[in-house]
C-alpha cells in the first residue's frame, strides 16, 4: 500500500510549471518543493499566479509545461493516485449550491468511496468543530462567504488526506473560526500532514507557517523558512521589499474625498 508513504521525497514538488492564457504567459517555469510535515505559505500580489499554480498542482488546470508531483505521484500522469491523497479547497470556484452543508460533505465522502460508518460521524464532527452545525441543513446557496470557505475546508478534510492544498482558506472567516482552523492545521501538520496555503495576511502566514514562498509575476522570488526569510524584521516589510511597494501614498487620487 502506497498510502502517501511513497519514498521520502517532498509532499508537493513543482518543477518548471508553465501556464499561458491566450498566448500570455502568467506562470514562468515555477518550481517549488514543499517538505512533508510542513505548513507552507504562499504569498504574492494580486494576479501573481498563486491560484493558477495551485490549480495546476491539484489537477484542476492543465499546465503547458513542467510537472507536479504529490507525495511521489505525478498529478498529470496518474491523476487518480494523486487526487486520492490530497484534499483541495480552491478559491473562487463554487460548490454544489443546491445541497445542504451536511449533504455536501456526505457527497464528497461518497465520491471518494469512504465507508458510510466512517464518513457520517466525521461529517458531524467537522460541522460541529467549524461551527456549522446549526446550518448543516441549510443549502450552501444560502451560506455566507465565510461559511462557504469553512464547508469547503471541511470537504477537503473529510477523507483525512496527507496533503492539503488551500487557496486563501482564511478569507472572510471570523476570528473565532480562524483560530479553530489554525489549531486544526497545526495539529494536522503535527501528525505528519502537509499544508500548502495561499494568503494575503502576512501576520497570519508569519505566525502560522513554517516556510513561505513569495510569488510575483508567475515566478518564485523567495522560498525559505519564515525565520530565515524575515531575518529579524517582519514578513510584511520583507514582502514589500521583495515585491516593490508602489508609491501612491501621497499624491494620487486627490479628488477622492475632496
Amino acid at each position: 500500500m502506497t498510502d502517501g508513504a511513497r519514498g521520502e521525497g517532498p509532499a508537493l514538488e513543482l518543477v518548471g510549471l508553465v501556464k499561458e492564457f491566450r498566448g500570455r504567459r502568467v506562470v514562468h517555469g515555477l518550481s517549488l518543493s514543499v517538505p512533508r510535515g510542513s505548513l507552507f505559505g504562499m504569498v504574492g500580489p494580486n494576479g501573481a499566479g498563486k491560484t493558477t499554480t495551485l490549480s495546476m498542482a491539484t489537477g484542476l488546470l492543465r499546465p503547458d509545461g513542467g510537472t507536479a508531483r504529490v507525495l511521489g505521484h505525478d498529478v498529470w500522469a496518474d491523476p487518480a493516485a494523486a487526487k486520492a491523497v490530497m484534499g483541495v479547497s480552491p478559491d473562487g470556484l463554487r460548490l454544489f449550491e443546491q445541497l445542504s452543508g451536511r449533504e455536501l460533505l456526505h457527497y464528497v465522502a461518497d465520491l471518494r468511496r469512504m465507508p458510510v460508518e466512517e464518513s457520517r460521524p466525521r461529517a458531524e464532527e467537522l460541522l460541529a468543530v467549524l461551527d456549522l452545525a446549526a446550518d448543516a441543513n441549510t443549502v450552501v446557496a444560502d451560506y455566507s462567504a465565510g461559511m462557504v470557505k469553512k464547508i469547503s475546508l471541511a470537504a477537503a478534510l473529510i477523507h483525512a488526506p496527507r496533503l492539503l492544498v488551500l487557496d486563501e482558506p482564511f478569507e472572510a472567516v471570523d476570528p473565532v473560526s480562524g483560530q479553530t482552523i489554525r489549531t486544526i492545521l497545526r495539529r494536522y501538520v503535527g501528525t505528519g500532514g502537509t499544508v500548502v496555503m495561499s494568503s494575503h495576511v502576512m501576520e497570519l502566514v508569519e505566525g502560522l507557517c513554517d516556510r513561505v514562498a513569495v510569488v510575483a509575476g508567475g515566478r518564485v522570488l523567495a522560498d525559505d523558512t519564515v525565520g530565515a526569510l524575515t531575518a529579524g524584521g517582519s514578513l510584511h516589510e520583507r514582502f514589500l521589499e521583495l515585491v516593490g511597494a508602489s508609491e501612491v501614498s501621497g499624491d494620487g487620487l486627490t479628488w477622492l474625498g475632496g
Partner: protein, 523 residues
C-alpha cells in the same frame, strides 16, 4: 444611456466571439439560418400585395400566431436573452425605466428579433396595394413587435420571480403549462370555418377578424380593418394595442425595479431534512451518489423545474391535439417526442453544475461514473412519466399498434440518453445561473446552441430510424413486433453504454479543459 447599453451588448458579443471560435461559428451559422428563413418567408409574405384582399388578410392570423409563439417559446423553449442580466446593474445608480429603455433597445439587436422585424416589414409590403392601409401596417409592425418582445420579457420576469419560492414553482408550472396550450387554442379558433387550402376560394377574412380580436392580434388587425373600411374597428384596435404595450412595459419596468433593489437569490431559506430514501434505494457508491444529487436537483432547483416543464409540455400538447382531432399519429409522436426530450435534458447537464463540477474532478470520480449517474437520475425522474404517458395514451386507444410504438419509444429514450451523455461530455452547452432567472438564455442562435440543436434534432432521428423502420415492417406480425421490442431495448442499451463509455473517457482525458469551459457555461 440607451446607446450605452446597446454598445455594451455588442462589446460582450464581440468578446465572447473572439474568445471562442465555437461561439463565432455558431453565431454565423445561426445568422445564416435566420437569413435563410427571412429570405424564404419574407418575399412569400410581401407577394401577398399582388393578391386579392381575402388573401392579404392572411397576415393578420399569421403575425398574431408569430407573436403568441414568440412569447410562449420564450417560456417553454428558448428563454430570453440574458447576456445583459439586469441583476448586474444593481450597484449602478440607475432608474429601472432608463435601464428598461436600454435593455429593450438591446433586445432588438438579437438575431431572432431582427428576423421578426424584417418579417414585419414584409408585412408592411404586403399591404402595398392598399395605400390607406400602409401607415396602419407600419404602426402594426411597431406595436406588434413591441408586444412580442415586451411580452416575453414581462411574462418571463414575472414568472421567474414567482418561481423563486418553493410554493411558487407549482403556480409557475401550472401557468406555463396552460400558456403552452394557447397556440393550440388559437389555431383551433382560427381554422374553424376556414375553407380548405384551395387558393381560388380561400378566404382568410373570417380568421383575420377572429385573430384581430385576440390580444396578440390587436396590432396586426389594423391594416385589414383599414383596407376593409372598418375605421371604428381600426381605432379600437389601435387603442387596445397601445394599452397592451403600455401594460407590458409597466409590468416589465416594475419587475426590473424589483430586481435592481432585491436581486433574485437561489431559493432562500431552504432547509433540508435528512434524506434517507434515495441512499437506501441507490446505495452510496459514486454513481449512485451522483444520481441521487441529480434527482434532488429536479425538485430543488427552479432552473431544472422549468426544464422539466419544457420537456413535458410539448408532448402533452401532441397528445391533447390527438385526443381532440382523433388522429392517433399525434399521440405516438407525442410519446416519442417526450422520450427524446427526456433523454436530451442531459445534454447540458454539466452546464447546470457549472464550475462546481471541480468537486468531481478533485475527488477523482471516473468519467463513466459521472455519466452513468446522470443517466440513472434521468431514468428515475422521466421513466415513470414516460411510462405513464404511454399507458394513458394507449388506454385511450390513441396508440394504435401498441407494441411497435413501445419499441420506438424505448429506443428513442435510451438512444437520446446515450447521445446526450456522449455529446454532453464534449459540448457542455449553457444553463441559467444558479439562483438566477430560470428563463435566462444566451443570445439566440449564438453559443453552442446551434450546433447542439442540430445534434439534438438530427441525432435521435438517425439513431431511432432503424428501429422505426423495423417496427413498421413488423407491425403486422404478432411475433415479429415482440422481437423488435426486445431488439430495440438491446439496441438502446448498447447506445447508452456507448455514450457512457465514450463520454466518460472524454471527461477522464479532458477534465481540466471541461472545467475551463464550464467556467463560462452559466448565464
Amino acid at each position: 444611456m440607451t446607446l450605452l447599453v446597446v454598445r455594451l451588448r455588442f462589446t460582450m458579443w464581440r468578446t465572447a466571439m473572439s474568445r471562442s471560435s465555437l461561439h463565432l461559428t455558431s453565431s454565423i451559422v445561426g445568422g445564416l439560418v435566420a437569413l435563410g428563413v427571412v429570405a424564404l418567408l419574407g418575399p412569400g409574405i410581401a407577394v401577398l400585395s399582388t393578391r386579392p384582399l381575402r388573401l392579404t388578410a392572411l397576415t393578420v392570423p399569421l403575425f398574431a400566431t408569430f407573436t403568441l409563439m414568440w412569447v410562449v417559446l420564450s417560456l417553454v423553449a428558448t428563454g430570453v436573452d440574458n447576456v445583459l442580466d439586469p441583476a448586474r446593474f444593481t450597484v449602478l445608480p440607475l432608474r429601472a425605466r432608463e435601464l428598461a429603455r436600454g435593455l429593450l433597445a438591446a433586445a432588438y439587436t438579437g438575431i431572432p428579433a431582427v428576423m421578426f422585424v424584417l418579417l414585419s416589414l414584409a408585412q408592411v409590403a404586403a399591404w402595398g396595394a392598399h395605400p390607406a392601409a400602409l401607415p396602419a401596417a407600419l404602426v402594426a409592425a411597431v406595436l406588434g413587435t413591441l408586444t412580442a418582445v415586451l411580452g416575453s420579457r414581462a411574462v418571463t420576469s414575472a414568472l421567474a420571480r414567482v418561481m423563486g419560492s418553493r410554493g411558487g414553482r407549482l403556480v409557475g408550472a401550472v401557468a406555463v403549462s396552460l400558456v403552452t396550450l394557447l397556440p393550440l387554442v388559437l389555431n383551433l379558433v382560427l381554422t374553424t370555418g376556414a375553407v380548405g387550402p384551395d387558393l381560388r376560394t380561400f378566404d382568410a377574412g373570417p380568421s383575420a377578424r377572429v385573430a384581430s380580436w385576440t390580444p396578440v392580434g390587436w396590432a396586426w388587425g389594423m391594416p385589414y380593418d383599414v383596407a376593409t373600411g372598418r375605421w371604428a374597428a381600426a381605432g379600437v384596435h389601435l387603442v387596445l394595442a397601445v394599452l397592451l404595450v403600455g401594460l407590458l412595459w409597466e409590468v416589465w419596468v416594475r419587475q426590473l425595479a424589483r430586481t435592481l433593489t432585491s436581486p433574485m437569490t437561489a431559493g432562500g431559506g431552504q432547509r433540508i431534512g435528512r434524506a434517507r430514501l434515495l441512499p437506501a434505494v441507490l446505495g452510496t457508491g459514486p454513481t449512485a451518489t451522483i444520481a441521487a444529487r441529480r434527482i434532488r436537483a429536479w425538485y430543488r432547483d427552479s432552473r431544472l423545474v422549468s426544464i422539466a416543464l419544457r420537456t413535458a409540455v410539448l408532448p402533452v400538447f401532441f397528445v391533447v391535439q390527438s385526443a381532440l382531432t382523433g388522429a392517433g399519429a399525434f399521440a405516438g409522436t407525442g410519446v416519442v417526442t417526450l422520450a427524446v426530450f427526456a433523454g436530451l435534458t442531459l445534454m447540458n447537464d454539466l452546464a447546470f453544475d457549472g464550475p462546481a463540477w471541480w468537486v468531481h474532478v478533485s475527488t477523482g470520480v471516473r468519467g463513466w461514473e459521472d455519466r452513468l449517474g446522470r443517466a440513472l437520475a434521468s431514468t428515475i425522474v422521466f421513466g415513470p412519466v414516460l411510462v405513464l404517458t404511454f399507458v394513458v395514451s394507449a388506454s385511450l386507444g390513441l396508440l394504435h399498434p401498441v407494441v411497435p410504438w413501445a419499441s420506438v419509444s424505448l429506443a428513442a429514450f435510451l438512444a437520446s440518453l446515450g447521445l446526450a451523455v456522449g455529446v454532453g461530455a464534449v459540448l457542455p452547452g449553457t444553463a441559467p445561473r444558479t439562483g438566477g432567472n430560470p428563463f435566462a438564455a444566451s443570445s439566440g442562435g449564438a453559443a453552442q446552441g446551434c450546433l447542439t440543436a442540430v445534434v439534438s434534432f438530427v441525432g435521435p432521428l438517425v439513431l431511432v430510424l432503424p428501429v422505426g423502420v423495423a417496427a413498421v415492417l413488423t407491425a403486422g406480425s404478432p411475433v415479429g413486433r415482440w422481437v423488435v421490442l426486445v431488439v430495440a431495448g438491446a439496441y438502446g442499451a448498447v447506445l447508452l453504454a456507448a455514450g457512457v463509455v465514450l463520454g466518460g473517457r472524454r471527461l477522464d482525458r479532458r477534465a481540466p479543459e471541461m472545467l475551463g469551459q464550464l467556467a463560462s457555461a452559466q448565464i
